[in-house]
Amino acid sequence: MIRALRAITAKDLRQRLRDKSFFLLGIATPLALAFVLNLVFGDLSEGELEVRMGVVDSDGTAVSAQLAGNLADLHGTGAIEVRTLDPATDPDAALGEHSLDAVVVIPQGFGDAVMSAQAPELALVENPDRPVQASVADSILDGMVTELERTRLLSAAGGQLGVQPGSDQQASDLAFAQEWPGGQGLDVSSRLMAGMAIMFVFFTVSFGVTTLLEEKQNGTLARLLAAPIPRNAILGAKALVSYVLGVLATMILFGAATVLMGAEWGSWLGVLALVLAACLTAVALMAIVAGLAKRAEGAGAVQSIIAVGLALLGGSWFPVSGEGVLGMLARATPHFWFLDGLEDLVGASSWTVVWPSLVALVAIAVVAGVPATALLRRKLAP
């Protein structure tokens, strides 16, 4: 049994590594996709959204100059650009002319209204093509307005009390601390890489499983069955080859992400445990399809549907919330638990935080693996 298992495994491994598909689909493709996705999504998560604002001060009072000045001071913080425009500028035209996202208009009489008990008004003219940037501009302005209201209250009440607070009195009334109770999780590029890795491992694994169908079509399976080899050894070898290649490809991808993108995963022991468990589910699920399919081509097609479908549901492409009907579906995918485990692992002190994920993954593997074995054993007929 052991000798036969070893011989078939070695033969299949050699065959698969000689064929370029393992490197192409197992390693090169997910790496390339993660790279492109990272180019596109990477910036956004680091708060590098470019926001270009304009300020039109038609008021020309000390108050409006202060507000305009505060806004102008923001220029260069993060990816914010602020352009001070001529008081007579038409904001609508300025949006197009200077390709701005939003223009703050301080109308005439603003300063007087602030100093007296009238209702001061400001306008924010937004670029209809850039709603996201415009709403960032809106919240920036919102913060400034609160500050201005505070200064106004301070000086008005101060006047009644006979004190003149300086204009530099920017005290904060509350202190804020930040805490991440669930850990900060993976950064975007690591998450994308992990998502692609778990998605493509299903493809890598599926090739190994479907070789059983190919051997049947080619007639080599009949010869194996005729030889004094236990049937379990044939099945075992096919599963083992798929599993080894799956684990290998995934670990190479994680290593590559660490070296090339500086990704951080936390404990490697935890990563390995998750990869080992996730590949188990991949082998089991892909084996069910191979067990049901009649021909290798048919199996390949259904396998790619399942691989892409599960990846989508499970959050390989976009994080899913885990709530509602979609959340329930997501929890049925190995992808969800694999990524969830990685998210927990990154900030954790010990690799044991991945236990819940491991349990879920092994459960999925068992639920899928038992029928898969039964189905595939039926295939082992000449």
Binding site: S21, A79, L124, P131, V132, D142, T146, R150, A171
Partner: protein, 386 residues
């Protein structure tokens, strides 16, 4: 006639494969539904969890809800809130210490703890929460500062401040959109997702036709076609039309299905079809070119899937182009996807017609002519050689 027949058989061939049925008919609708429910739900206001029991928290919650910045979920204990935030729902929590009111009154600065989950919205909600609490702590803060400065008793200062505050109307910010219209806070709507997925899938499915073209050559179908009284030119055009037909079918299917299921509006229909026809032509040209230069259909299948996904991601089908930084935005416009999205944005947001999207249409047409020209030239060579 022969052209139509070649094209028709290419389309039939695609649908014979059951997996293709899934990828063309079900998968795009599924992905639009998933993404749409995830991002596109405009009615969904984000939630912020707050520990209850203080005045300042109640006032800040009122402010959050009245500005519709967030809905507030109350929690009795800090431990419970921590637990829920660590599960990601709510995405952000604010721990307000029980003595916050007393400390504010006493002229001290209480410390609030913002709990953040790894949710994408967390950073933004953090800022929203801080602003509303800061606004509500303003009055006690001013009292504290003026008490220090004036040396008068705190109670007296508080009376003056609250009297003055009640007489000062708030500064109002009016938001207007240039050219009219309502400002929208939920920019990624169903229609934007539908446009992106439509372009992604149309290009992808037309492009993967490259593998079928290689198969035709390898199986000798092309050779046999040439042996009939059919000119190479007709075959090339027929093959091209086949890919184009697949692309157009996919595009129109998604258009109709999303209009019926999700009520997506596609703008001026005639213009939309012109843009899609040109976009599908670019995809068909790319498919023919790959089909003409590559020899191995399995490798071509891999390359086309990768290229289709990568170009789609780069071209703004997965993330709105307006969120790209300027460099990436320029890079994105090497893809036909970005130009088509620009055209649809013009049509959707500004009710643009063919005249308004002429630049985009021109670029797409130029890309199509270039690719189809190159592909026909290469295909003539390879078809007659095999």
């Amino acid at each position: 006639m022969k052209i139509v027949s070649i094209a028709w058989h290419n389309i039939i061939r695609m649908f014979r494969e059951r997996a293709n049925l899934f990828f063309v008919l079900i998968f795009p609708i599924l992905i639009i539904a998933v993404l749409g429910s995830q991002f596109g739900d405009a009615s969904e206001t984000p939630e912020i969890g707050i520990t209850s029991g203080t005045d300042v928290a109640a006032r800040a919650a009122d402010r959050l809800e009245s500005t519709r910045a967030a809905r507030v979920q109350w929690f009795d204990s800090a431990a419970e809130l921590r637990d829920q935030v660590s599960d990601g729902s709510p995405a952000v929590g604010v721990l307000v210490p029980d003595d916050a009111d007393a400390r504010l009154d006493a002229g001290e600065v209480p410390e609030l703890t913002i709990l953040l989950s790894d949710d994408e919205e967390a950073g933004q909600l953090d800022a929203v929460a801080r602003r509303s609490f800061a606004a509500e702590a303003m009055e006690p803060g001013v009292v504290r500062q003026l008490t220090e400065l004036s040396g008068q008793p705190a109670g007296q200062v508080r009376d003056v401040v609250s009297h003055v505050a009640s007489g000062l109307p708030l500064i109002e910010v009016t938001r207007e959109v240039a050219g009219g219209g309502e400002p929208e806070d939920e920019p990624i709507g169903f229609s934007q997702i539908a446009v992106g997925i439509l372009l992604l899938m149309t290009f992808l499915n037309a492009l993967t036709g490259a593998a079928a073209l290689i198969q035709s050559r390898r199986l000798g179908v092309s050779r046999r076609m040439i042996s009939t009284p059919t000119s190479v030119r007709t075959i090339v055009i027929g093959e091209g039309f086949g890919r184009w037909g697949v692309g157009m079918f996919q595009a129109l299917y998604i258009m109709i299905a999303t209009a019926l299921l999700f009520g997506v509006e596609w703008g001026d229909l005639a213009t939309a079809i012109v843009v899609l026809a040109l976009f599908a032509a670019v995809a068909a040209g790319a498919a023919m070119l790959i089909g003409a230069i590559m020899e191995n259909d399995e490798q071509a299948a891999g390359v086309t899937v990768l290229a289709g996904l990568a170009l789609g991601a780069l071209g703004g089908t997965m993330l709105p182009l307006e969120l790209y930084n300027s460099t990436m935005n320029n890079v994105a416009h090497i893809t036909p996807h970005a130009w088509a999205i620009d055209a649809f944005t013009q049509m959707g947001r500004h009710g643009g017609t063919l005249v308004d999207v002429l630049p985009e249409v021109g670029v797409l047409a130029a890309m199509a002519v270039l690719l189809i020209g190159l592909a026909s030239w290469r295909l003539r060579v390879t078809l007659t050689r095999v």
